[in-house]
């Protein structure tokens, strides 16, 4: 199995919201999509996926509804709400700031060590 990286607290929420921007998806789909896009680096423990989905729904950022899948099976689909979209934009901005800050710190460290 490829080595997985522990997700930062709050990062999972961001990933879920980002994944749902494309289309409504069920829980399994979200997990698969994140795994695919990260080329198997990020593996989502289902133990934390569903609580995260519930948390986001309780916050009103996503909304769920039961739909029929392409295999003619009932499944619960999650879609982003308006509030969710705004929240995502805000969190992305924060993430950008944070990661560039970390990058510049790490970059400085890399230069110093080289």
């Amino acid at each position: 199995m490829p080595q997985s990286t522990d997700l930062l607290q709050g990062t999972l929420d961001l990933l879920i919201l980002q994944t749902l921007t494309l289309e409504p998806m069920h829980g399994w789909g979200v997990a698969q999509r994140i795994q695919q896009l990260s080329e198997d680096v990020l593996q989502i423990g289902q133990g934390s996926l569903y609580p995260a989905l519930y948390r986001l729904e309780y916050k009103g950022w996503i909304r769920s509804e039961w739909q029929i899948t392409e295999n003619n099976r009932r499944a619960k689909y999650y879609r982003l709400t308006q509030t969710g979209k705004k929240q995502l934009a805000a969190e992305l901005a924060t993430w950008d700031r944070l990661s560039s800050a970390i990058a510049s710190v790490l970059g400085g460290a890399a230069e110093a060590s080289s």
Partner: protein, 881 residues
Amino acid sequence: MISELLTRIRFLIFRKRRSELDEEIAFHLERAITTRIAAGMDPAEARRQALIEFGGIEPTREQCERQRPGWWIGTVRQDVHYAFRGFGRNPLFTISVLITLALGIGATTAVFSVVDRILFRPLPYAEPSQIVSIGFVHPLERQEFVMGRFYVEWQKDQTPFSALAAQSTGVHNCDLVENDPMQLSCVAFQANFLPLLGISPLIGRNFLPEEDRPHGPPVVMISYGLWKGHYNRAPHILNRMINVDGNPVRVVGVLPKDFQFPTLEAADIVTPFALDPAVQQTVNGGFGYPERVFARLKPGVSVVQAYAQMQPLFNDDVKWFPPSAKSETRLSIRTLRDRETRDARPVAWVLFGFVLAVLLIACANVAGLMMARGAGRQRELAVRSAIGASRGRLIRQALTEALVLSFAGGLAGLAIAQVLVKVFVRLAPTGIPFISEAHLDLRIAVFTALVSCICGVIFGFATALQKPRMAALNAKAAMSRNHAFLRRSLVTAQIAISIVLLSGAALLLRSFTKIEDQNLGMQTGGVLTVKVALPWWRYNTNQKVMDFYLRFESSLRRLPGTRAVGMTDSIPPGGWQDDFRFSDLRVQGKSPFPPGTGGTVAGRSVTPDYFNALNIPIIRGRNFSDQDRTGDEREVILSRLLTERLFPGEEPIGKRFLPGAHVSGSGAIVVGVADNVKNSGLTEQSDPEMYTLRRSVSGDWSGNHLIVIVDSAMPAAAIEPWVRSEVSSIDRTIPVEMEPLKLALNRLADRPHFETTLLGFFALTGLVLAVVGLYGLIAFMTTQRTHEIGVRMALGATRGNILRLIANDGLRMLLVGLAVGLGIALAVSRMLKSLLFQVSVYDPLTYILVPLLLALVALVAIFIPARAGMRVEPAATLRAE
């Protein structure tokens, strides 16, 4: 924002159904399995792998449930519900905790309500800490007073105060003359008296400066009680003319409902003090009349500074004093609180200490019980922890239980406190300031709530700190004696505290019996005291007063059953009497005594029957006779003590006194010596005493103290109506007060009785709680060791061995507790010194009996559970494994 809020509210009300989540998880697993099968995996293996990958389904459910907003409210409800179920399963534990808490909290609250006014609550005036009582004090008058002449000078020359105000010394009787004359009490104060206290009248106004002058317009203020009781709260009372003592006066104001005179006296009518500086320079030998003076300190001036600043003025004043008074008179300045509560404070503090000790015992007891229960529940807690309860959840559960218990205990305690306060107020003797106003109020309710919460948190944590061990799941390890040391220390501490309480109460009880048993030197059974309040404005000459009393005396003598009718200005052993200085006595043929030596002598002006009515033996010479009453010679009788002081080894009969203290006119001759009578209160050393004959001469009937004593063969209830009708046949409107002397004496002992009862009650409460704690712990430890006992017996231990095994534990706690408690008791008993009468604070009997009593009770508490342990059937316990 709003939509988010709405969503939250929606989910708060409509929970997600559990089946939805289950279906979702099922779908997820199904996809995981089909994906694996599509990748070519064996179906069974695919299912296994998918389940492994998913992890625990139940924790996921739990996690999802926890995301719900307000999730914790549900758990609190669960915790409370669970706590109640637990209590129901264990009623003995619950009841003992509740009783302990209710008693502890109830007693604390009740006593706090009583002592609060005395110790902590500010007096009902503006900035009360700035108000002081100032004046002279000397051994005959320990409350500050100022002579009018000096007061006038102080007003001009003082620096430390922003204001001074005087009131008359004490209330006096006055008559409200309307259709039916009514006797009231009157007092006078200056116009700036109320402003100094920061009080304004409820309706109407204060006296104006021009009314507070000699010969000013006649005005009065009336008390709220009189306004309500007599005038039905009629607003047009203002400016109405009423007749006080035969003079029409105008009502200008009504005092506030809760107004309290700084002297704590009650008065119905206040007149302006109308100080006349010119008169004060001349009357009473140029000293002026005595008055009570209160002052407000300037901001930033302390009592000590004020004292220093007043000292020069006082030094000037003292030069005027007669030599005998010079050395004994001091300047005194003390805060109003000090003046009002000084006597009650030692008792209040002792009471407060006692009650805190009881609360400590109660808390320790509850903590001990909770911990014992916690230990018994280790298995249960371990199981809960094993099936997923977090440590935080277990602690919260324990705290919930503790809080529920303390809340219930607090409620029950408040109910008990309500009852106790009523009982205290009823039991309380007069003279404990503010006690009749004691009631449970908001502050005190908050205090209780706080105490019960602290109790709850303390013992809640004590239980919660017991970490459930997985080992406890194992039945054998469930006997682990966790925190045994802490529990033992708690019980030991309880025993120690109850020793302190019990010895305090025992000392007071010993002191009280000494007070009760002492020889008063007179007989009180069958003696009735009669006080007649003659309105001074109608009986305005000594002659009229004498005529009334002589008529009254002869009419009482005619009543059936009367053995003796005496008249006196005071009755021992307590209350007012005409004290004077020993050094002011002048004996013919002896040089005067040095001023300020010899202390105080009690003076009494009596008729011959006084000695017969009270059965005071004349041990030398003779009693006064009825002929003496009309003769010219003045006779005196001395007490044995005074004779020994004045005429050691001499014949006292026939000795003469020159005019001086208590003897006027041409001097007096000693005709007899009476035996000593207790005359300075029940608990003080008796003073020497001098009786002068009250002759039937108008000059002997000045002064407004007169008590008629009737010694009768008839019961008091039978003669009281006769006495009443005799008075009204002379003067229809005069109120009469009657009381058997025995009752009046019992009232003197009321206060020690009250203190002893109260402290005894708390000591017993403490003892009961401590013994319950000891019993509970031993019983608990015995059940915990049942298995061990079974094994020991199977291996050949005798029942005696087992008894010793269990009892040893208890005995060790008992002995350590006794030793520690005795040490503390001996160290703190000094605080009781001021309350004790003829009992040393190290009274050996007390310190032997109290530990014995406690040991006895404790031994019973140890041996009952120990016997239960002894009866363990080894076979039964071993089979129970």
